[in-house]
């Protein structure tokens, strides 16, 4: 940390702000813990082939529904598959759905929201109505419908989750743009004769980035739970591909004999989404100039 203290005499405002934000973030133990656990889940997803003790479909017929032991730390399921390994492999589907659905929602919603907020008038009115219509469809109904049209798969579940998250994000991006438009530096840029594209890319978008980052940390855990729900209903990841939702669906038949089959994958979902939520709360507090320290 020593290099952080030898601050250069002159720092750009952005670098100084980044440093303040980092410092405020590091002062929150829960946020740092959330960041660490979230990183661990992402690493587990990437490194699954190397760190999982068994393959995701590897069966051990000598240990069906076996309780936790030295060979199988979290026990095995009804086909003798190692639960710990399947949870590690299953993190791939969850992280992929969480990140990709959030990216998709951003790519769809942010340009639309900015357009509405920046040009206002008729464009905005049309966008607002369309958003209202999209909001009237609960995300699960959209997801169920898309799975029915496109067929159930992780990709289609991710698309459904991304589209489901878009309307709320459109509203947020629109609101931010409406506020940023009135800022002095935007007026100055307009007076300087800057083009709309330049104002949006250089002034509006960078200044709403902290809001978008915080939104992303809210959307990722929501999409992770959403993926689990869809896979649980048979509308997402298809067996034998491991996924926490699929594991929970399978576990439903063994609630009395082997409740741990339902406990462990659920704990994985819980801790994964909790870590992203903690990270998001920490970032929001650190990025918000109104909160002190």
């Amino acid at each position: 940390m020593s290099y952080a203290d030898t601050s250069p005499a002159v720092m750009s405002p952005r670098a100084r702000r980044r440093r303040i934000v980092r410092r405020r973030f590091m002062r929150r133990p829960l946020a740092v813990a959330g960041f660490a656990v979230a990183t661990a889940f992402v690493l587990a997803a990437i490194l699954a082939p190397w760190i999982a003790p068994y393959g995701p479909g590897e069966t051990d017929f000598n240990a069906l529904l076996a309780p936790p032991s030295a060979q199988h730390l979290l026990g095995t399921d009804e086909l003798g598959r190692d639960v710990l390994s399947r949870i590690i492999w299953g993190s791939r589907a969850s992280i992929e759905a969480g990140v990709m659905a959030t990216l998709l929602a951003m790519l769809v919603a942010v340009p639309i929201g900015i357009l509405g907020g920046y040009y206002r008038g008729k464009v905005d009115a049309v966008i607002a109505r369309v958003t209202d219509v999209l909001l009237a469809f609960p995300f699960l109904i959209v997801a169920v419908g898309l799975a029915a049209i496109l067929g159930p798969s992780l990709t289609n579940a991710t698309i459904a989750l991304g589209i489901g998250a878009a309307p709320a994000l459109i509203r947020i991006a629109r609101g931010e743009t409406l506020a940023l438009r009135e800022e002095d530096y935007v007026r100055a840029a307009v007076a300087n004769g800057a083009s709309d594209g330049r104002i949006i890319l250089r002034h509006v978008l960078p200044n709403m980035s902290s809001t978008l980052i915080v939104q992303a940390t809210v959307l990722i855990p929501a999409a992770i739970i959403g993926e689990a729900v869809l896979s649980f209903l048979g509308l997402g990841v298809q067996p034998p591909t491991p996924s926490w939702g699929v594991m929970l669906a399978d576990a439903q038949s063994y609630l009395s004999e082997a409740p741990r089959l339902a406990i462990f994958p659920g704990l994985a979902i819980f801790f994964c989404s909790l870590s992203f939520n903690l990270l998001g709360d920490g970032l929001r507090d650190a990025l918000d100039p109104r909160t002190r320290r």
Binding site: R129, V133, L135, F137, I149, A228, V229, L274
Partner: protein
């Protein structure tokens, strides 16, 4: 006030109309098509043609749409694959889901608002931390998993509550509540977490407002300052949040009813999808979308009643 409500109602009508178009087009985009679903294995082109003709599916899409909507307005949503009227099926299923939703909103807002008020009054103390942690856990826990855990604990291990199923309230009020308790808790958890956060933050704002300082300066007891002055103003935002959470509530009802085997509206949606019953599906989705819009309109009305500024200026969110 009247103008404000009229404009809101007009916007809601437009949204319902556009939703009906989306539903209609969306269902037409499903693979297979209604004729195949009805004809089953029989793919004889003549049979498919006959079915298409019988259901008017050989007419142009706009004609089909107008026919569907004009019937829907009169409460006729057509016949499902089993030749039962869709509207009737929906009407019999909705009360079950409404009861579930009512109980979970009741539980969720009681717990959420109470916890939020306590957290804001005792800011920074143990109660605040407990409530904030509760909200964080409530937001992070997958609710359907919470349902499975409650089944394991209260039904499988302790035998306190039935694991699944449904008894109508009229037949057996106590049994009905026994069956509904776990689903309502599962569905209400997320809502209570969101409401707790919202209540806490708007309470903190109102507790710092001038009128609260005035109330305290007048020497009013703290109970009245918090309850009458601060909480009343915070409840305005809380109502809006309940309206906005309705979509999440409908989505939640689908999976909650699936886990606890409750024959409600959510389960009907999944049945319609799984059985590829198109008439049923478009009816269900249309009713869900219209319900969402209507409830949000009602929320706007309540909001304008609670917030005099909107009534006077006619503006507002």
């Amino acid at each position: 006030m009247g103008g404000f409500l009229l404009r809101k109602a007009g916007a809601a009508l437009i949204v319902v109309f556009l939703s009906s178009v989306v539903v209609f087009v969306g269902v037409r985009a499903l693979p297979g098509g209604p004729a195949q679903a009805l004809g089953g294995e029989n793919r004889d082109p003549d049979v498919v043609k006959a079915i298409n003709h019988e259901y008017g599916l050989d007419k142009p899409l706009p004609v089909q749409y107008v026919k569907w909507v004009s019937h829907a307005i009169r409460g006729d949503l057509g016949l499902d694959a089993r030749q039962l009227p869709v509207a009737h099926t929906i009407v019999t299923r909705i009360p079950i889901t409404l009861e579930l939703a009512f109980l979970s909103v009741l539980l969720g807002s009681l717990i959420g608002v109470t916890a939020g008020v306590i957290a804001s009054v005792r800011r920074g103390r143990a109660e605040d931390h407990a409530a904030t942690t509760f909200a964080l856990v409530g937001l992070s826990v997958p609710h359907f998993w919470l349902g499975l855990m409650m089944i394991i604990l209260f039904a499988v291990d302790l035998h306190w509550l039935p694991a699944s199923g449904y008894v109508s309230f009229r037949q057996d009020p106590l049994g009905n509540l026994e069956h509904m308790l776990m689903p309502a808790i599962v569905l209400g958890t997320g809502l209570s977490a969101v409401l707790m956060r919202q209540t806490r933050s708007s309470m903190l704002t109102s507790l710092n407002a001038d009128y609260v300082r005035t109330a305290r300066a007048k020497g009013l007891p703290e109970r009245i300052v918090v309850g009458k002055h601060a909480l009343r103003n915070s409840l305005i935002t809380v109502t809006t949040v309940i309206g906005l959470q309705l979509g999440a509530l409908i989505s939640g009802a689908v999976i909650t009813e699936q886990i606890f085997v409750i024959p409600g509206f959510g389960r009907l949606t999944l049945e319609a999808i799984n059985e590829r019953d198109y008439t049923l599906l478009q009816g269900v989705v249309l009713v869900a979308a219209a319900g969402y819009v209507i409830v949000n309109l009602l929320v706007d009305v309540v909001y304008s009643l609670l917030n005099p500024r909107i009534r006077v200026t006619g503006s507002g969110p």
